[in-house]
Symmetry: C2
Subunit: 796 residues, 2 copies
């Protein structure tokens, strides 16, 4: 159901430009949204797009991935096995602040007379730029140009180039470059202005405790330790300065703050160039002293290299990224400007996915990346189901890193399975440190499908990259423990002719919780069990020693593999003969259909306006659930079946989750509702640019951004990759003339260019690739494009 | 399933004596349990049975019914409509403390050389008595006799008579009589030593804030106000003193403490008699000053009347109570001592039910009465389903008070219905002030059956007492709003042939939550709807003006009554044709049967050892649910059906709730499992005396105590009162020779004496009563006993 049209941010805040996001005037009423959209990150350091002046600010924030505070979850009514340790991503000292004083007059945007204003995020260069001309009350015109980056190449480094010129007069200018931690209102679990329904709450006490700090010449380093999680943090700034004007420099620090003050006797027309280098280091083991030393080294290197070197490496990193990852569209002439906005939005999505994952290295992917503290910086299934496909096909190294991160949680997942009275391993529904942090089991722990989601992502990773080494080392162990969980959780039901049933689970759709035989969960678990069986069987034959080692390590018995095979084979798939549709879960059709007609627009999302029990007793779907199953495991459903299911369920789906529209678009596309598919895809693609969820202030919806790629490539591009076999059945919306993207497949590079009547496949690198085009096999050789005719399925 | 045998407290702690509970030696390892068992209360003031010395103590406590602190319930993950205001019954200043010093040596039980020790609760006199002879280290023998009561007649009054005699020598004796509030550890939501799974938690700040206090001569008055709920409390003590020995008296107070010190030059053999009067007053409106004045007046009156007057009125109150309420048993000779213990236990149960309700007046009945802070002093459905039947048949005035209390919550119940997205009224699952305080909706708010429970209790009250005035005034309004809730909650299901279904509800059994068509809920809701229809129809005919007033007040439309009738008539009753049994709820039989065989005894109660989701996906029942429906609405089931259902469900019922055994006993009795019924009844009757739940320290299980009466009268006595028609079909356990009880029925008094081969019915007061004895009609005239032959159904 498509009920929400793009509404919020007016178009003018980002006039279209395919590689940039440009703000042409200061717009205080979208402060929070712009901070999110303009956030820079490399997946380790994240900095919201706040002004250098530090003020006005909706919600400032610099974040370090995996840097969190833990706290005992207190339930008003507790029960056995409830998650015990909450985790919250923390603000760290803000190092971006550069305050400017001219004639002792502070530069303050809301009251400044601005002769010129432009901010832009440049997705090719990877910088956030601002150019301002400010006329002071005394009539002096001051040019302020800044360029900010968080380095993709240097994980611990960010930098700002800051250039001030007094255009038309001499003036005493003071530039105060700060690093500052604000215990109230930024380092705390703050409720202020959060719009997210599961909003981040306040800590009772300050969590970041100051340790040593130092200020020497142009360098300041602060160190902190978290109160409960006992993580150490060092944050530092250093500066280079270039100007022909006379200058004096002072620096100082105390506990939570440090600053370097540049006092310049500025001369008219002579630029003052300041470069600020910012570094962050965190550790769970190292001392404050050691972390401080690491910061010193990072800053030494940064200062030595200089800002230009940073921008060059940034550009080169992004050139490589876009070459592999860009999705290009060409529109029909009548919709050019709309298409340009879409082109911009697609790139904006991919850019933020890169920002969220690039240097996460051994860490996870927070739901909002590092652009805001929505969902407390937790890692969810978004990773494997919404973001991993894009990375697998464009940046397989990043995909592997995320898989390795999941593997690193396996021991904690084993503990968690025990805690919920099961064997095997149960990955946490939401977490930072690997411990389950979901405090509402109905829409948390009960989403056992997280296990199958992770395995699904891993399977796709292995099949598309061909990385069997990972499969046989880490993957196989994950398969054993996840399969165990499923086998232990389910049972062969006499009442269902001995079929294998999974009860009291929650699927992706959080408007139907703790149900029996959620179809998504059942088919995903089936896939998980099957993949465990086939992988272990292969491993036993191909590497018997490795198999034996693994069997010993995990206590695996051969009979377990037989059991899993039986469970997979006999998996129960709920189906309603009368309506001829699958059931989202056993009792779904027993419920009343939600009264959509009498639900006004402002009552969405429903979860903010109705008691859960009221929602649960209706046929209403928050987000793609059965539809998601039909996409991920589409080879288990006939096209006819998909059509029937889509027609029934899509009408019930409110899309109250940002994880929905992209999937609805793909399935709509497949079953022939091309206009609807286009509308859904547009929703997914502009989710944050148009603030469709109304909570972009809290951070970007990274899953929807990965989903934007999927709705282009899987949706309109018609890519399917069941069991690693590549096929295409594209369907181009009428607004588009051409859709182009590249895919890395088993170390080969495929370019796909789709037009309305034909598709051109080009293997740019590789030894040869077989694929199917509309069910016809095509064999590609490197360098030889193949153009195939596109038979259009009738649109419904 | 009967899996737990009486275990904990050894028999010797209460040698049998049918009217007393006697402790013959100081037993420190049962401190907590004895404090609970020896608690005194009149339903307004409750005092745990702690020693006068105030030490040693497991968990001291004086409570005032309805005196609570409120607090915002904080959820780690919140959702729309979750209960917002938590409420916790508070400790109030402890006024029972009397410290004794001889030769400046403190009397301290754990180290004292006791030549004699006896404590006893006397259920005929209504006092807690203690007699001790203490030999001091100096060899002086000191007799200490105390008698404590909480007055049934004077709601705000308690008293202690305290007599000390230096038997064999003169000695300086100091008696320090205190009143004291301990902010840490007693007034707070303490976790210390609580064994209840839903234990009371700590407040962050002290909640009882001291206001004015005064100490004059032998009187001390303290006043306090609660921080958040803003209730005012005055607690006061006063004393009379009688001795021929020289004495000096001093009193003082500060904030939370006051004391009166009696320094006596005691002479050998000359008794020192001190009487302490304690009074408590609470208000939500009055000032500390005003409350203090009220206390002064109460103490003035008490001192004037004297202790003897208090004991006389106490005795007379109890004489009347026992005449109406006693259940007497006579045993076969071979089991005399066991039978005596049962006789004692039955009386102990009835005594505590009286203590919990007697002077509650306009207040509710906490789950533990006022004997401990388990379940935070909340009022539950226990009131109507477990305690009300006893009160209706023996103390109808108390039953009416409880009904009036429920009516007083109606406006808040209307608000609550709105909060959970429904119309009508939804009574809170647990509350003190009328607001829902359940913070776990699955086993709280989802128990919508509370509405029907209240109406069920009200219907029984009206039918047995004949109080149609209440029905037509308060009752009818409650019926309208509860019927509305049901009609709004449910729907006519096309998939169930248009039958009326109730989805996403939780029945009494908290091991199966948020289910569809819980049979108990459906039949109870049906009864609620039917009673609404019949009452309103009667009212419209008999008192059209009153009906019109009510219709205007509630906005009632006649079509609603038609709707309710249709919903009741078409109510869906889940039944499994294959097994020929009713379903506890729609999917119950789809679950796996719990693996009882491999569940060791120490894994019960299951809720403390398994994750809720694990429990939910099994066929396992915490407490009588379908069985309870078969008891309360037994006329909706054939005997054959009850047998089949009982055989299936009783084997799955762990009895992990104290609300279970009594019901299981009654149904077991009805379907012919007389030995099992006897065992269950024994469990219900000695629940606290044998600490069967292991948490008697936290307070008595008042519901099980009311249930003890039901298992005697409804179970073995075979009473049924469907729609107010009285019938008997007794089944006496082989251990008993005779069972005797009295019932007040529509202002007549019926005595029933059951023997193995006959039953004698005697109408002691009244104009004539018709009843059925084993399906044969008997008409009784006052004063003319009728003896009927008892045909014994074969025991299974």
């Amino acid at each position: 159901m498509l009920h929400r049209q793009p509404v919020n941010l007016p178009q003018y805040t980002y006039p279209c430009c395919p590689w940039q996001l440009i703000e042409k005037q200061y717009t205080p009423h979208f402060l929070g949204q712009m901070e999110t959209l303009y956030a820079l990150s490399n997946g380790y350091i994240g900095m919201r797009g706040c002004f250098e002046e530090g003020d006005p600010v909706h919600h400032s924030g610099t974040f370090i991935n995996g840097f969190y505070e833990s706290w005992p979850i207190v339930y008003p009514e507790e029960a056995y096995g409830f998650a015990k340790v909450g985790q919250t991503m923390l603000h760290v000292p803000d190092s971006t602040i550069i305050k400017l004083y001219v004639d002792d007059e502070a530069f303050y945007l809301p009251t400044a007379n601005l002769l010129h204003y432009e901010r832009s995020l440049d997705m090719q260069i990877g910088t956030l730029n601002r150019e301002i001309i400010w006329e002071t009350p005394a009539g002096k015109q001051i040019s302020i140009k800044s360029q900010r980056l968080v380095s993709f190449k240097h994980r611990h480094l960010a930098a700002i180039s800051y250039e001030v010129t007094a255009i038309n007069a001499d003036a005493p200018i003071e530039i105060v470059s700060k690093i500052h931690y604000e215990p109230k209102g930024s380092g705390n679990r703050q409720s202020a202005n959060y719009e997210d329904p599961r909003r981040t709450k306040e800590f009772a006490q300050r969590v970041l405790l100051p340790r040593m700090c130092s200020a020497e010449e142009r360098r300041v380093i602060l160190t902190h330790k978290t109160r409960s999680s006992e993580l150490t943090l060092a944050s530092g700034i250093d500066h280079t300065f270039a100007s022909e004007c006379p200058i004096s420099i002072n620096s100082e620090c105390i506990a939570d703050s440090g600053e370097v003050v540049f006092s310049v006797a500025a001369q008219a027309g002579v630029p003052i160039r300041l470069t600020k280098y910012m570094t962050y280091h965190t550790s769970s083991r190292a001392s404050a002293q050691e972390m401080s030393t690491r910061s010193q080294r990072s800053l030494d290197r940064a200062v030595k290299k200089g800002f230009e070197d940073l921008t060059l490496s940034q550009r080169s990193y992004l050139d490589d990224f876009w070459a592999r990852s860009d999705v290009q569209i060409e529109s029909e002439p009548d919709v050019t400007s709309q298409a340009e906005a879409v082109q911009q939005a697609i790139r904006f999505s991919l850019f933020h996915v890169l920002q969220a994952t690039s240097r996460a290295d051994g860490l996870g992917l927070p739901a909002k990346g590092l652009t805001g503290r929505g969902y407390e910086g937790h890692y969810f299934w978004d990773t494997e189901i919404y973001v991993l496909p894009f990375l697998i096909y464009t940046n397989p190294r990043l995909a592997q890193n995320l898989m390795r991160f999941r593997y690193s949680l396996l021991d904690k997942a084993r503990e968690r399975a025990k805690a919920v009275s099961q064997t095997g391993a149960l990955f946490p529904w939401r977490t930072i440190n690997g411990e389950e942090a979901s405090a509402y089991y109905a829409a948390g722990t009960a989403q056992y499908h997280i296990n199958a989601d992770i395995i699904f992502g891993m399977k796709k990773y292995v099949e598309i990259t061909g990385d069997r080494a990972f499969l046989y080392r880490e993957g196989a162990e994950m398969l054993i423990e996840t399969a165990r969980l499923w086998y232990d959780l389910g049972f062969f039901s006499d009442r269902e002719n001995g079929q294998f049933c999974l009860h009291s689970v929650t699927g992706p759709d959080e408007y139907n919780t703790v149900v029996n035989n959620n179809l998504y969960t059942n088919v995903m678990a089936q896939e998980n069990l099957r993949y465990a069986v086939s992988t272990l069987t292969d491993l036993q034959q191909s590497q018997p020693e490795r198999f034996n080692d693994l069997a010993i390590k995990t206590g695996l018995e051969l009979s377990e593999i037989t059991d899993w095979h039986r469970a997979a084979t006999q998996m129960y798939i709920p189906f309603d003969e009368k309506l001829g549709i699958h059931l989202q879960h056993d009792g779904f059709l027993d419920e009343q259909v939600w009264d959509f007609e009498n639900t006004p627009e402002d009552k969405y999302p429903l979860l903010l306006h109705f008691h859960p029990l009221f929602i649960y007793r209706h046929q209403v779907v928050k987000q793609a659930d059965l539809e998601l199953a039909m996409f991920l495991l589409g080879n288990k459903f006939s096209l006819e079946q998909k059509r029937k299911n889509f027609d029934y369920y899509d009408a019930l789906t409110t899309g109250d989750s940002s994880l929905s529209a992209c999937i609805q678009s793909i399935v709509a596309s497949e079953v022939g509702h091309l206009e609807l598919a286009t509308a859904y895809a547009f929703n997914a693609i502009v989710m944050d640019l148009r603030d469709l969820s109304g909570n972009s202030k809290d951070g970007c919806h990274i899953a929807s951004m990965g989903g934007a790629w999927m709705s282009a490539v899987y949706g309109f591009g018609g890519l399917r990759d069941y069991d690693g076999e590549i096929s295409f059945n594209p369907r181009l919306p009428k607004q588009l003339k051409c859709l182009h993207f590249s895919l890395a497949i088993r170390e080969q590079l495929l370019s796909v260019e789709i037009q309305h009547d034909q598709v051109t496949y080009l293997l740019k690198e590789g030894s040869g690739l077989d694929l199917k085009h509309q069910n016809k096999k095509i064999s590609l050789m490197a360098g030889s494009p193949v153009t195939a005719k596109l038979e259009l399925a009738p649109s419904l």
